[in-house]
Amino acid sequence: FSSGFCWGNSVERKIYIPLNKTAPCVRLLNATHQIGCQSSMNGDTGVIHVVEKAQDLKWVLTDGPHPPYMVLLEGELFTRELMLQLKGSSRISGLAVAISKPSPAQGFSPGLKCPNDGFGVYSNDYGPQYAHCNWTVWNPLGNGLAYEDFSFPIFLLEDANETQVIKQCYQDHNLPQNGSVPEYPLCAMQLFAHMHAVTNTVTCMRRSSLQTAFSLNPEEVCDALSDYNVWSTLKPINASSKINPVDEVIIVATRIDSHSFFWNVAPGAESAVASFVTHLAAAEALHKVPDVQMLPRNIMFTFFQGETFDYIGSSRMVYDMKMDKFPIRLDNIHSFLELSQVALRNSSVLWVHTDPVSRRNESIQPQVETLVEALINSSVGANVTLQEVGQSQPLPPSSFQRFLRAKSIPGVVLADHRTSFQNRYYQSMYDTAENILMKYPEGLSPEETLDYVTDTAKSLAEVATVVARALYQLAGGTGNTSAIQADPRMVSRMLYGFLIKTNNSWFQSIIKQDLKGLLGDELPQHYIAVTSLVNTTQLVQYVLANLTGTVVNFTKEECLNPEKTPNPEKEMYVYTWVQGSRDPNSTSRVPFCVQSTVHLTKAASPAFELKQWGSTEYSTWTESRWKDIRARIFLIASKELEIITLVVGIAILILSLLATYFINAKAHVLFSSPGDGGTVAY
């Protein structure tokens, strides 16, 4: 019984159990294909069947008497073979995957074996022997599941308690008793995930633009994946004008996004977070050096968003540089240093990858050698061994490849792998803090966990130290580099904030005042999404401003409106009013103004600017729109019982109509009795 207030849906609560902690698989489209999953308009319903071993699948595919089935799959069995079997069957109406804890031991990567193939630098015109991973397969564990097209919905069950509820319902109603067929009512699950876009980006963008042009209430069907790149320079430059053509800039780059099979599940620990945290630590270390403002060359710290989807961020920046829309031109670039996946170093070796094709050029080769030499010199004394990979090996998937497409620039990519990735969970939901071996002792409070320095943090700080020292040398610095050290405590705090909990005291103190929704308590995800400025981009921006900027003594009005007090210095900087940390005794915060050189620049593929939706040159990834995504379980009755109910109802109605008509017609005969007519009739 549910006493008390009846909000009108207590009957619904008695019938349906909603599944709240789920993540759907959505449809993404590019110039030629659609990938992901689709459900029917009013959801797909099916009888639940739990598949815990491969033999259980036979019931679903051939034996079971009540198709279509909704399969509840253990995470270990979520493989390409099984999924292709399900894809071909018409007896499946959907799939729910229970996340596997601990992660599958053999590794799991739904990405491609050759990530971003065709959008890097290697093609039939440039290093054809390296194109399409002919030389090295970077992600051998990749099964390409995320790039398949499924016609049924697939959901991820993130909460083990909900999975247990579903299994309990299955055991109570759906298990065959002693070999006999289970009877109705049966436990069923309904998944709603109807996607509006179809076919490919060309089709959906055409339909969306028709809607926007001609409809009063436009119903767009897809959105381009876009966000912002974060960049900052060591010496301040005027972002609204171009720098001197003679000036030289060294670009340091990392990516800040990742992906997995399911929407907005992208922990990306090894593929993105460790790299950009190392990058941030190196930037902090460099800014602490006293004579950096006198260095001959400038350094630009760039954080690219959307690299997972055919290099959205870097292709846009290269395009802007070519079109003169960016303060720095391609000719200003002296060299390029990229940090790829760096957290899983094997016996502390860090591999240096270079591009063999551009090194054949006589002017590029010595510059590359200088780069590598600076790196090796900087690693003396640190627990990092730098080794070059074979000179004929191509570059791994990296943003540097997009720059090479435009112009031959000397550059290196640092990674923890020599040939294929060390990361066995590349672009999957298992690429979490455990994957990069972040271990915290038991029983720590959140504050203590924030400040605890893990071994992973120490290892990444070593890499950051090497990178910072090398950059100092490359930028023309002549002083002693042994004082340049990255701070392991800061690295550990950043790792905690970007991998475990964004709502911690340090992040709270460095963000703007009115951004309460930015910090959450659930695990942080780093998917580019279609909304502008996802949490990751904003947090990277604030952390970079905090680590590389200086505190200035401005009031809130001066800080928020710097153009009011004219000063040529002010055009070179960006001012942010941050809320500051909380006093231990009071509940108020002490805000202050931070002066930094951190800028945001749009990371949307040039294909959408140029309206070339079928482009093979630039990324064309879009995400479909949808109305309703949810999941629920309930009991269903057999079709026969439903039809019987309807027939009996109609029969009773007809019967009572006939009986009443006859009794009414004969009433004067039936109810005539000697006496009054004023008695009660009926």
């Binding site: 109802g649 009414n664 017609a665 009433a667 009660v680 009739a681 009926y682």
Partner: protein, 217 residues
């Protein structure tokens, strides 16, 4: 529950009353007035009794399932008694309005049920039960036979109490249908029917089909 089950259950539950309305009430505007008024009286009685139950539950304020069930039993008994009081009040009102014919049509749904079909069939039993109770009650008040309304109240309590036996549907449905048959027979005789009339009617049907087209009353 799908659309088919919804339509099927609606027809099972409300088929007879729909037939009654279409054949007898709709033809005469006055009976429609009585129908609506009677229904309103019954609804008010339900509202008051549920208010009393709600207040009792709030005052009692417990989350224990058996305590809640006790409150519900109290609520149902009180509701039955209040419905009968309102039935009497309606009778008095109609008497005062000094009209000859009264029609009462009521609907009642049982609060607790999980299986929809049993729910529908219970409603199928309750609707005519109310009709029969109305017939007997008003006739008894007219003829000042006070033992008859007492029997009506008792049988109403019995049927409502039987629903507490749910989900043992054979325990609640079968006796309810038996009581409905008995009440139906009693109401038939109260309304002026007799075995002789019944035989006459049936034999008429056999002999003369034209007699079926009599004018409705």
């Amino acid at each position: 529950m799908t659309t088919a089950v919804f339509i099927g259950c609606s027809f099972i539950a409300f088929g007879p009353v729909l037939a009654l309305c279409v054949c007898t009430i709709a033809a005469e505007p006055l009976s429609l007035v009585f129908l609506i008024t009677g229904g309103f009286f019954w609804l008010v009685s339900l509202l008051l009794s549920s208010l009393v139950w709600f207040i009792a539950v709030q005052i009692g304020g417990s989350n224990n399932a058996s305590v809640k069930k006790n409150f519900l039993i109290f609520g149902v008994v009180f509701s039955v008694l209040l419905q009968e009081v309102f039935r009497f009040a309606y009778y008095k009102l109609l008497k005062k309005a000094n009209k000859g014919l009264m029609t009462v049509s009521q609907e009642e749904t049982i609060p607790i049920s999980v299986r929809q079909l049993s729910y529908a069939f219970m409603t199928l039993a309750i609707v005519p039960l109310h009709v029969f109770w109305g017939i007997v009650f008003f006739d008894a008040c007219e003829k000042k036979k006070w033992w008859a309304p007492a029997l009506v109240i008792l049988s109403h309590l019995l049927v409502s109490g039987l629903t507490f036996l749910n989900p043992q549907y054979d325990g609640s449905l079968v006796p309810s249908y038996i009581i409905m048959m008995l009440m139906g027979t009693w109401a038939f005789f109260t309304a002026g029917g007799s075995l002789r009339n019944l035989k006459l009617c049936l034999m008429c049907r056999d002999k003369d089909f034209l007699l079926a087209n009599q004018h409705p009353r």
